[in-house]
């Protein structure tokens, strides 16, 4: 088991090296993250804290914290390299992965996990000072909610990775993935709680599968959830994970069957 893990770790490390082949691009992407985070904080600070605006049960401080946490979940859960697989299917580069004596799913997960670890660690460089600076305006998580949030983070990572792979499989059936991917993530962006807390539109919306990408991990970090049991939400999330996994298996087995290996 340890050997398998070590092997996957090395594979993930290689893919990370490939992702970082252009270091300046990586640093610019981090700069973009810091800039967008600062813009978001200033914007919401001006609206929420300065004017004392309250949304439903969300106080200005809770709301500002929520947006900061959705930013963090976005960086950890939704930062991915798996979104390049659709294009590699179309370009034919995917063929080389099919020749490796290892099934694609563990390969993808190794790639994703190592990339996320690196991305998260590098994001901490600017997140820690910002959180420290804003701590008097934020609702910080308790130890208990941090552990529960960790479970939601893991669930979110798995759901997000499988959803990305499902949408990448469009490459098996179409010569263009961009439009379908864009449409999918616009819908996901609305349903994942990235722009507003989903419970503001009713508790039912919080149990959609995309909610586990941003809403639930962020909401748990905020502390007590009164409208639904977080453990029930976790249970539903695991159910979604199983369903999404079977959809992934179905779509990919059909996709691989129809794969023609075109491209250059």
């Amino acid at each position: 088991m340890f050997k398998v893990f070590l092997r996957l770790w090395h594979i993930g490390h290689f893919f990370l090296k490939d992702s970082l082949a252009f270091r300046s691009q990586f640093f610019i992407s981090k700069l973009m993250e810091v800039t967008s985070l600062l813009v978001m904080i200033i914007f919401w600070y001006a609206i929420l804290i300065s004017h004392g605006v309250k949304f439903g049960s969300y106080s200005p401080h809770t709301m500002l914290s929520y947006f900061l946490y959705t930013f963090i979940t976005q960086q950890i859960i939704a930062s991915t390299r798996l979104n390049t697989i659709g294009d590699s299917i179309i370009s034919g580069q995917f063929t080389r992965l099919l020749l490796y004596p290892i099934s694609p799913l563990p390969l993808f997960l190794a790639w994703e996990i190592v990339f996320k670890l690196f991305s998260t660690l590098t994001s901490l460089v600017y997140l820690i000072p910002i959180i420290f600076f804003l701590k008097s305006y934020l609702v910080l998580p308790s130890a208990a909610s941090s552990w529960l949030a960790l479970a939601f983070f893991i669930l979110g990572i798995l759901i997000f990775a499988l959803l990305t792979l499902i949408i990448s499989a469009v490459g098996f059936f179409s010569t263009e993935t961009w439009s379908a991917t864009f449409l999918f993530w616009v819908l996901a962006g609305f349903l994942n709680g990235q722009y507003f807390p989903l419970d503001l539109l009713g508790p039912a919306l919080t149990l959609n599968p995309f909610a586990y990408i941003n809403y639930w991990p962020s909401r748990i970090l905020l502390g007590s959830v009164d409208f639904i049991s977080p453990f029930f939400a976790l249970f539903v999330g695991v159910g979604w994970l199983i369903i999404i996994y079977f959809i992934f298996k179905l779509v990919w087995s059909r996709g691989l069957k129809s794969f023609a290996g075109w491209g250059n």
Partner: protein, 336 residues
Amino acid sequence: MLMADDKTKPTIFLDKVSKSFITRQRPSGVKGLFSWGKKQVNQAVKGVSLTVSQGRIVGLIGPNGAGKTTLLKILTGIIHPDSGQVSVLGEIPHHRRPHFLQQIGFLMGNRNYLWWNLPAIDSYNLLKIIYQIPDDVFDQNLKLFSGFLDVGRYLYDKPIRELSLGERMRCQLLAVFLHLPKLVFLDEPTLGLDIIAQDKMRDFVKFYAARFKPTIVLTSHYLKDIEILAQQVVILNHGHILFNDSLSKLRSKVSTDKEIVFETILNDPGPVKTLIKKHKLSPYLQSINLPEITFIAPQPLASQLIQIITNNLPVSDIKISSIDIEVIIKRYFQNV
């Protein structure tokens, strides 16, 4: 279609294998936006049956679109056949079992197998982990193969994207053989290479075949690759196998013609043309590129032709050889 000397279990066994691709031909321009297009079924491989025994080098040849690459993709498990039975190394390739993939290597001459933005050594290290090659075997193979292919100078520093086509192809070839595959598929391995690089590739394949006794299936439009490397030739056209035997059998089936090249000390083609007209030799004439005059003639006529030319023209040298494989294949396609 078992070869006469096949006594062991075949490495490759295909029985009535077919594969078709569905495409849609849409009208061009704005009209195309509102049309699903006409469905077209392109039958790439049609009922192919083939057996290759262990340790053989098979040359798969045919014109563009004959189905060669599709057949290789079926054999490596990249694509699923529509019908028929496929067994490679005793496994069904498209099940893609790790044990099967561990034993094969596939070089696609028109596709980049290595990671574009990293030096070749990084891709080799990845392959080492993926194929679980022990450290000592990896070091030994890397040293041996990189020395043979003369790639040691640019393995460590230059990303693949900065290498020339020849350098890149040699690095790719090394990658394919690094885990010592038992069965190797080489699809156009000398595509776009200069003569020296082509020779290096062929020498390496010969060396590997002699040392490790793998089964190799090779496709190439450079028929010299087939002539030098292959023991068995399979001609494929429109998805069908037209011929499956040795190159010498193909030669004897197509023709017993000889190529005769006379080297003269003439500067003027006039006397040559007059002589050819007088003895009605034009059907056998291939070219007059003084000082060389080339004829292709059936074996019984060759001695008569030599006599006529040497008696009437100042000849300094004569070269007689079997006709070139390219001519053989061309003739084969003309006859079928």
